[in-house]
């Protein structure tokens, strides 16, 4: 299988590499099938690339790498479609977004992936976590002057 992505050109993948998000993502409901593009274990950023829409890709990071102590509290109901009983054992990813000043992480609505079942879902965390947690020293913050 392959997709001609807008950002990275042609990407080949096996059917087993695809993660199914049965509901899509909020705002991207038609995007059910995704692959993860990454440089390797050391890269801080990976891309969640839509299979259906070549122009849709979301930069994702491990939130704890940027926000030590980040912990997902989520209603049990949210994890049932992932066939997960607890968040443990799941891949937890924060979507990178941006504000007028900096890159930011959506800590309120992280993506949770069940690697074994190849299932994913964007969940809404309990509590008052920010949807735009601005990152210090991100490229957008660097002064050009």
């Amino acid at each position: 299988m392959e997709v001609q992505t807008t950002r990275f050109g042609r990407v080949e993948f096996a059917a087993e590499d695809v993660f199914c998000f049965p509901e899509g993502l909020p705002g991207l409901a038609a995007c059910r099938d995704w692959v993860i593009l990454s440089e390797g274990n050391d890269a801080a950023v990976a891309w969640l690339q839509s299979v259906q829409r070549p122009e849709i890709g979301l930069a994702v990071v491990c939130p704890r790498r940027f926000v030590p102590g980040y912990r997902l509290r989520v209603a049990r109901r949210e994890l049932v479609p992932l066939e997960l009983d607890t968040p443990k054992g799941a891949l937890l990813l924060a979507v990178v977004t941006k504000t007028a000043r900096a890159l930011a992480l959506n800590l309120r609505a992280p993506v949770v992936i069940n690697l074994d079942r190849r299932l994913g879902r964007q969940v809404t965390a309990r509590g008052s976590l920010p949807m735009q947690h601005e990152l210090d020293n991100t490229p957008a913050l660097k002064k050009t002057a």
Binding site: L25, V45, A59, L115
Partner: protein, 83 residues
């Protein structure tokens, strides 16, 4: 919009599987209990709309914009690939 009057502990049924119950009413705040199949997402509207907007904004990010955080390679993650 369909408008129905309900009292505390009364419910409405949507389709065969969704039940919304008035759990509590205090002043201008109403607490709702929602029973729905787990595959039906349930969101507070303003939160859902904010997530939608954030995802669409995030999907506009270019690869160069996040390069300072790390650089992806254009090959699929192969940890589940089978020979």
């Amino acid at each position: 919009m369909l408008v129905l009057s309900r009292q505390r502990d009364e419910s409405i049924v949507i389709g065969e599987e969704i039940v919304v119950t008035i759990v509590d009413i205090r002043g201008d705040k109403v607490r709702l209990g929602i029973e729905a199949p787990t595959e039906v997402p349930v969101h507070r509207r303003e939160v859902f709309e904010a997530i939608q907007a954030e995802n669409l904004r995030a999907s506009q990010l270019g690869a160069k914009e996040v390069r300072g955080l790390g650089q992806p390679r254009s090959t699929a993650c192969s940890n589940a690939r089978r020979g």
